[in-house]
Amino acid sequence: MNFFSDIILMLDSSVRLAVPILLAALAGLYSERSGIVDIGLEGKMLGAAFAAAAVAAVTGSPWLGLLAAIAVSSFMAMIHAIASINMRGNQIISGVALNFLALGATVFVGHSWFKRGGSTPNLSTEARFSPIELPFAEQLGGIPIVGEIYEQLISGHNLIVYVAFLAVPVTAWVLFRTRFGLRLRAVGENPKALDTAGISVTRLRYQALIIGGILCGLAGAYLSTGQGASFSDNMTAGRGFIALAALIFAKWKPVPVLWTCLLFGVLSAAQIRLQGVEFPLIGEVPVQAIQALPYILTVILLAGFIGRSVAPKAVGQPYIKER
């Protein structure tokens, strides 16, 4: 029982740690499936996290915060779109620029609003997304194993967590079962094929980037108004890059993205619990070795089992019809 509930708690933590990466990786999926490299996930998430916390702090409403997050992140996605679609610019530079922009602008704007050096005030419970108890969670909790999993692992997360997990099957469905998905996959592989079929490459890519913007908005809002309760300078701490890595790791496919992010969540949760633990035979390991565990294991898994991941063929190249 004790061991079992420990595992459940750890998985619970893994889920929470996986969510922002999952949302960002799905955002990257839409973008890169459409042929646009998205190295600016980090920046969009950061911008969104700030907008969510700032607006929630001022209005007291997490919903308005979420809207603001989505607006800011989509706005940044549009900058990326203009640069990489209309101006055929270098998508990597554009992404790097967005990351810097978010880094500077969040603190600059935040400081001029709240005079707290870019941090936002702590959000009250009402201004955050609070845990949702799923129906019958308490009643079913008594049932061993299944009930406990339902009550403790599945129930009790905030709305964005459920949205994130729902976004995976929805993305898979959109990608493989709808007209939009067919065109999206096509435009990342061979935009000319789509163009000659009379579909606007530009419009489709814009749509993909907007969806990515919305998802990054959710990821950011989750960080500052769901999992956390305020914004802090550079609070994404590299999650956008982890998401990018997860996306490649999962070979740009939605369900594998879910597994990759969960794997990363589990490793991160395990890392927290393993700090300072004495291991049989080895003894105590430097805490930094434990902290690096998720990254080291990723490298090993990648080298050992995953094999080559092949990007959508047209990714990174601007679509140039006439030179």
Partner: protein, 366 residues
């Protein structure tokens, strides 16, 4: 519409970038105005701070030197078709090698420190980059993931080394300081104009690195093979070029270049190694490399621009306290955006301007 003449070369390489930088300043200026300061004076302060006097120049060039290293690192890998996001970690780990050798030799003479720490920095940086290179070449691990992971691993590794292994007791996770005898000379010792600036002898290594990369990429057979692999891997296979060997070599060179930042920053200025000394310069290198179109001349210019923004920005924050360092980061982002990602923004307008009332159409065909 008649057939259009292409833009004159000077428009392409000078006027357009200048317009883009100007636009970045206009937008940045709006932000400056938003905090109630005069944007024109802000720009004046920024430019004067970066280029207006010797000390300013010294700082600008000092930062530019670091950016040259991290920028070249990204560029060299890019020529082989590899996107090395790991400059940050490579420079960090290189700092370990550089400082260890510097501390070992610092009782001798700075020449030994310079040579020793340069070699050590390059070696450590090369090794840290070669592992992702090897994994990509042999195991097909995507270089982007591996280099991202190696940044995190470097951070953990260096945290351990600095807090527990080569740490100076009583200090905060940093190494001993290099003794006076072993300190790299500042250029201000020879040119009084640079007085008080951290510009040091590594600047010349930066210039050598630029020349080296130019020669390597465009004037050697290895460089030719690197470019072939990067531009068309299938053609490289046809030509009998070993992708495995090239990838590993290129990543080693790339890491070595990133590592040189340690000589400039850790050995040259801070004279010891502390936690997080790279300060994001590895990521700035990505912007510098792409803005410089992976060409040494372009990289030198982009690095200079960024050096100027760092130095001028600091001056700005000093003179106008309400323009905080965060606003300077915003201006930097705008410069990256407009000159890097939206570099062709003015092209249609300029094409129309330059084609007004002329243009005999050329016939098609060969």
């Amino acid at each position: 519409m008649r057939a259009q003449k292409p833009l004159p070369r000077w428009v392409d390489i000078a006027l357009m970038p200048a317009l883009n930088v100007a636009l970045a300043f206009v937008v940045g200026g709006l932000a400056v105005a938003a905090v109630g300061e005069d944007p024109f004076r802000a720009m004046q302060v920024l430019i004067f701070g970066a280029f207006g006097y010797g000390e300013g120049w010294g700082f600008t060039l000092h930062f530019a030197t670091s950016f040259v290293f991290t920028g070249l690192a990204v560029a060299v890998a890019y020529h082989a078709g590899l996107f090395n996001i790991g400059g940050e970690g490579q420079a960090y780990v290189a700092g370990l090698g550089a400082i260890m050798v510097a501390l070992w030799l610092d009782q001798t003479h700075w020449v030994f420190v310079l040579v020793g720490s340069t070699l050590a920095a390059m070696t450590f940086g090369a090794i840290w980059a070669m592992i992702p290179g090897y994994l990509q070449a042999k195991r097909g691990s995507h270089i982007v993931i591996t280099t991202i992971m190696f940044n995190f691993i470097a951070s953990a590794f260096m945290s351990y080394m600095l807090a527990q292994v080569i740490t100076r007791p009583g200090a905060n996770a940093e190494t001993e300081t290099i003794a006076e005898t072993g300190r790299l000379p500042l250029l201000s010792e020879y040119f009084s104009a640079f007085t008080y600036s951290p510009l040091n002898i590594t600047f010349f290594i930066g210039i050598l690195a630029l020349i080296f990369v130019y020669v390597l990429i465009w004037r050697t057979k290895l460089g030719y093979q690197i470019r072939t692999l990067g531009a068309n891997p299938e053609a490289a296979r046809y030509a009998g070029i070993s992708a495995v060997a090239i990838i590993i070599i290129v990543m080693a060179i790339s890491g070595a270049l990133a590592g040189l930042m340690a000589v400039n920053e850790a050995v040259g200025v801070q004279k010891r190694l502390g936690v997080g000394y790279v300060q994001g310069f590895g990521f700035v290198g990505i912007a510098v490399a792409f803005m410089g179109r992976a060409h040494p001349i372009g990289i030198a210019l982009a690095a200079l621009l960024f050096g100027a923004l760092y130095q001028g920005g600091q001056e700005l924050a000093f003179v106008m306290p309400s323009v905080s360092s965060d606003l300077v980061v915003v201006i930097q982002a705008l410069v990256i955006l407009f000159t890097g990602a939206m570099s062709e923004m003015f092209k249609p307008v300029l094409l129309r301007l330059f084609n007004r009332g002329n243009g005999e159409p050329e016939p098609a065909g060969d």
